[in-house]
Symmetry: C2
Subunit: 282 residues, 2 copies
């Protein structure tokens, strides 16, 4: 409780943060590179193809500019054209990810425990790491059929509006937490305010009970549980989460059975010595 209040105070302080210089076109950043990356980031699981003009419209760019950038991206092998002339991501883009996957070998050791949790909860189980103002799933266990989205490494979501994200936030302390919250507030002003209390409560819950829950905060029909695992030696913050379709998740079961069991599983995973434990666990 008092933890929650403390956080909310830090929160309020985070109101006065660096507005100056941010909205002006940062002359130290390469705008061309940004545009190219923004094109790649446009694609998602719902929209896997784009016409040139559609890209131009969404990013507010000239058609000619998009044409040249896409040509470059194709030349580099990250974009392809399908039979109808639309742009698609080329499989080669997976090659950029591989070094990250290869660097996180500890994932493989957690597959066993994750499977157990998946069976116990009859849900999806995921491993997420913090990356900037998002979490990124790096390992998933689950049935691709029973869910609307396909559980795969690479799914990203908001830190402040999801169980995984909040468990990750609970791993931060002091200045670092302060900075991250300021960043989030800056990036999503309205959303941040809406979810501030829930986020604070979830962070406190992670510290006190070892897990937090979210009822559709991110994906409307998914109830999620998450527990902070800790930090790897190379500085990645990791959380373990579990997702259930809403209709199958009774609140009292989630809070009094599943949650504690997930926290328990996290505890035994921490015994493996992969992670530097959260600061609040002595």
């Amino acid at each position: 409780m008092s933890d929650g209040k403390t956080i909310l105070n830090e929160w309020a302080d985070a109101g006065e943060c660096e507005l100056p210089g941010e909205n002006a076109t940062d002359q130290a950043l390469s705008s061309t590179l940004m545009k190219g990356l923004e094109i790649l980031a446009l694609f998602n699981d719902q929209e896997d193809r784009f016409a040139n003009s559609e890209i131009a419209r969404r990013l507010g760019l000239n058609r000619a500019t998009v044409s040249r950038l896409c040509k470059t991206l194709m030349h580099m092998g990250y974009l392809r054209r399908d039979t109808k002339g639309n742009f698609r991501l080329a499989p080669r883009i997976l090659g950029l990810s591989y070094p990250v996957l290869a660097a996180t070998r500890w994932r493989h050791q957690l597959v066993g425990p994750m499977r157990e949790i998946a069976e116990m909860s009859t849900g999806n189980v995921t491993l997420a790491v913090m990356s900037g103002d998002q979490f990124v799933q790096v390992q998933t266990i689950g049935d691709p059929i029973s869910f609307p989205h396909i559980p795969e490494p690479g799914i990203t979501g908001p830190l402040h509006r999801s169980a995984s994200g909040r468990a990750l936030l609970s791993l931060l302390e002091g200045q670092e937490l302060y900075d991250k919250l300021a960043e989030l507030r800056l990036r999503f002003p309205e959303e941040f305010a809406t979810h501030a209390e829930d986020t604070a409560a979830s962070i406190a819950r992670c510290r006190d009970a070892g897990f937090c829950s979210s009822y559709g905060d991110w994906r409307p029909n998914i109830v999620a549980l998450s527990t902070p695992l800790g930090e790897t030696e190379d500085g990645l913050r990791v959380a373990l989460s579990c997702g259930l379709p809403r209709f199958r998740a009774r609140e009292d079961v989630v809070e009094n059975d599943l949650g504690p069991r997930l926290a328990e599983a996290a505890k035994s995973i921490r015994m493996m010595g992969i992670f530097k434990p959260p600061y609040f666990l002595n």
Copy 2:
């Protein structure tokens, strides 16, 4: 046999291809975007961190330029700094890949058959697609421990110097094959010549016997078998491959037992109707 000769002839023709205009700085390509992407592509499973000056040295760029590009990449969330100040890929880069994974749902249907092959062969089994002048693994089954590299989606390799790549090449016919070979020859002039005969033989083998084999052509200590599956509706060419440590792979077993079995498995996978079958299977 005659097929192999035909290919070799096409090969020879491929000698006279567009040298002009290629080496000059293509004014239609965005150089800044290319530099940024080259920075990201620098990382691999062996080298997962770089100092600013090291990047500058490898890409022949000014330190100041690299500083600005990396700042941009960090701003976009694809690069991070570790505690020692080195640049690393940020997990968020996985997010770029997810749309590709989500678009290839058929992968999941093949996990079962792939498991069977893995048990049968006691090796790694992978699903690879063609992307530009490389193959990219999109699904892997196997033991991360028994191999020097970690089997994961995102591993890329050469088309002309690997079993997977050659099986993929065997899916091309006519002009398309011609063009692809020309592209490969242009990009790897010396390597291409060295492996030309093996590549031609492997492509012929895929047509005749339904599989091809490679004894360390790509990874020195790995013997690989591969079979072409076909083409998906959205134009991705797919091959199914199997890798074994060399010491465990007796050549006669590979050629007379494992190979035919892999080809057989491919045949039954093709019955699932996911792929447009190779042109040479009427």
